[in-house]
């Protein structure tokens, strides 16, 4: 434990006698007392007497430095510090360490902030336009030269994007079918109109919810995976290695992923449509609507154009999800946190784009009367 005794010397100087251990666990009280004593002795010179200090570490030295720095140079002196501790104290220039020699940068003004954000958005937009161009060129090249596509990679990615996603797509779309049927059947029953629940589920799932839910699931699963995978490759200089081998990273990394997503997303959408109808049909059984009646009702109301309206969207969604995932991966800078950022940005901008494009589809379909 450290203690502080305050007395006046015959020559008029104020003496602060420290004793005991000066370490991080014991100096808190004497630090405050020492400061107060120096402040109180504003007209006197001060001597910090360390004769009885039997241990002093870095924290203790900080205390001494702080006490010395309370006044102008020479006014506070440390006396009788053991040589071993004196050597520690002599490492530091008191005035230098008291002052922050690397102050935080001047805070930016609001206008500067707006400028920086605007420039960031501008750069991001430019990156996206360049990426869309490069990807379109790479896909066109792949179409003209199918042998140039790394099909082994495509099948591997297909398995991960498609087959591995079946359980979660099945679960979500089944639940969606059940919930939609149940929630609408209860009010409809009051009008004896339970049978029209089949119409609702058929139209809503095939036109809108099937493709959209599948796409959102894929954005969370595969979009994030693409971004993290390519992001890690960027951080590990693997993308640089491709570039210096003269191999275009877009053709090599992006094309197989977009092709795999294009092949798998529509199939998953089809699967989600069917499973959600199954969920709806099973729910309606408990409202005394037999399976056959459900199927007939859906067949009567949902026609081929409704199915195609949703199916066509799933191709566009596939390009969006895979494209944005790969773009975010390629935009990764350095460090583990930027890979995490890339994955997050892939999911967030993927979902925002999906919703926006779905809105555009709704308007176009309305105008075309589909």
């Amino acid at each position: 434990m450290a203690t502080l005794a305050i007395s006046d010397a015959p020559d008029g100087r104020r003496v602060l006698a420290l004793s005991g251990r000066l370490d991080a666990n014991s100096i808190r009280r004497v630090w405050a007392e020492g400061r107060a004593a120096i402040a109180a002795a504003s007209r006197q010179r001060v001597v910090v007497d360390a004769t009885n200090v039997d241990y002093c570490d870095g924290a203790g030295i900080a205390l001494l430095v702080d006490l010395i720095a309370q006044r102008k140079p020479g006014d506070v002196q440390v006396a009788n510090l053991a040589p071993a501790f004196e050597a520690l104290l002599s490492q530091f220039d008191v005035r230098e360490v008291e002052r922050d020699q690397d102050p935080p940068p001047r805070p930016r003004g609001g206008i500067e902030d707006i400028g920086i954000i605007a420039a960031g958005i501008g750069n991001d937009l430019r990156d996206q336009v360049v990426f869309v161009g490069e990807t379109a060129a790479a896909l066109w090249y792949a179409l003209l030269h199918p042998a140039s596509v790394r099909w082994k990679d495509v099948w591997r990615i297909c398995e991960r994007v498609g087959a591995d996603a079946l359980p979660i797509v099945a679960l979500i779309s089944f639940l969606l079918g059940v919930i939609l049927a149940f929630q609408s059947a209860i009010p409809m029953r009051r009008f004896g109109a339970e049978i029209f629940v089949a119409d609702l589920i058929g139209l809503a799932m095939l036109r809108e919810l099937g493709p959209l839910m599948t796409a959102i699931l894929l954005a969370g699963r595969s979009g994030a995976a693409f971004a993290a995978e390519i992001g890690t490759m960027t951080v590990n200089q693997e993308v640089d290695a491709l570039t210096t081998m003269g191999l275009d990273p877009v053709r090599f990394l992006v094309t197989p992923r977009i092709i795999a997503a294009l092949l798998m997303t529509p199939l998953l959408t089809l699967f989600a449509d069917l499973i959600s109808l199954l969920g709806g049909a099973l729910t309606l059984q408990s409202f005394s609507i037999p399976f056959v009646t459900f199927v007939h009702e859906v067949e009567a109301i949902v026609d081929y154009s409704d199915f195609m309206a949703g199916f066509v969207k799933s191709f566009v969604f596939a390009i969006l999800i895979a494209g944005i995932g790969c773009l975010r991966g390629l935009q990764t800078t350095a460090g583990a946190s930027s890979v995490g950022n890339a994955a997050t940005r892939a999911v967030v901008s993927g979902i925002v784009l999906l919703v926006a494009v779905d809105g555009i589809f709704a308007v176009v379909y309305y105008l075309l009367d589909i």
Partner: protein
Amino acid sequence: MVSGQPIIRVRDLTVGYADVPLLEHVSFDVRPGEIFVILGGSGSGKSTLLKHMIGLDEPIGGSVLIDGADIVAARGDARRAILRKIGVMYQSGALFGSMTLAQNVRLPLEEYTDLTSDEIELIARMKLSLVGLALFTGHLPAEVSGGMQKRAAIARAMALDPMILFLDEPSAGLDPITSAELDALIKRLSRNLGVTFVVVTHELPSIFAIADRVIMIDRRVKGIIAEGDPRKLRTESTDPWVRQFFNREAEPLPT
């Protein structure tokens, strides 16, 4: 051995980020067959210079002629033609993690040649045996040590028999024995295959073991402060900082 016209000519090269130059108006030549080492203190811009020499980054100004063709200005097929003449080993190895060592070496061969799969497999195995990894062709990069990854990266860089191999900090993070083995490998490949090496490093034992010629760059002058044989620079340089570097002396702390 070292002879003839320079194989790389760097002229008036100014490099940096966001228009803040790190090196200004740097010019030097690399001769065919030599082991050329770029050295300098940490943060001096060695790796940045290398990135510009292999065309990964766009310089602020100047040119890098590789076997007569400017990699800075080249686009499309012309650029690919230049890139075929060089191989690069990155500091981390940068092997593709999902592929075995053999598949990593196969990749450039598959992309650039019309050889059959069996022929490519044989070449890949030969390249890996050249760097002493014949027993590890089926291993994934994560399954072998850091030194082996770097050797495999050299094998991949040599897949298409380039004229020039660029190595970024080959001995960084390796123990002294592995590091010496890598130096011996570089010497052997240079002697037996006649490949030109451009090596970025600041490991003194490596420099003395392998370098035919060095340039030393420094951020204070934003350029080259010494050029020549490292064994001579160690004793004969007039620049105290250069002598300090080669004799591994610490700079006195500012007082």
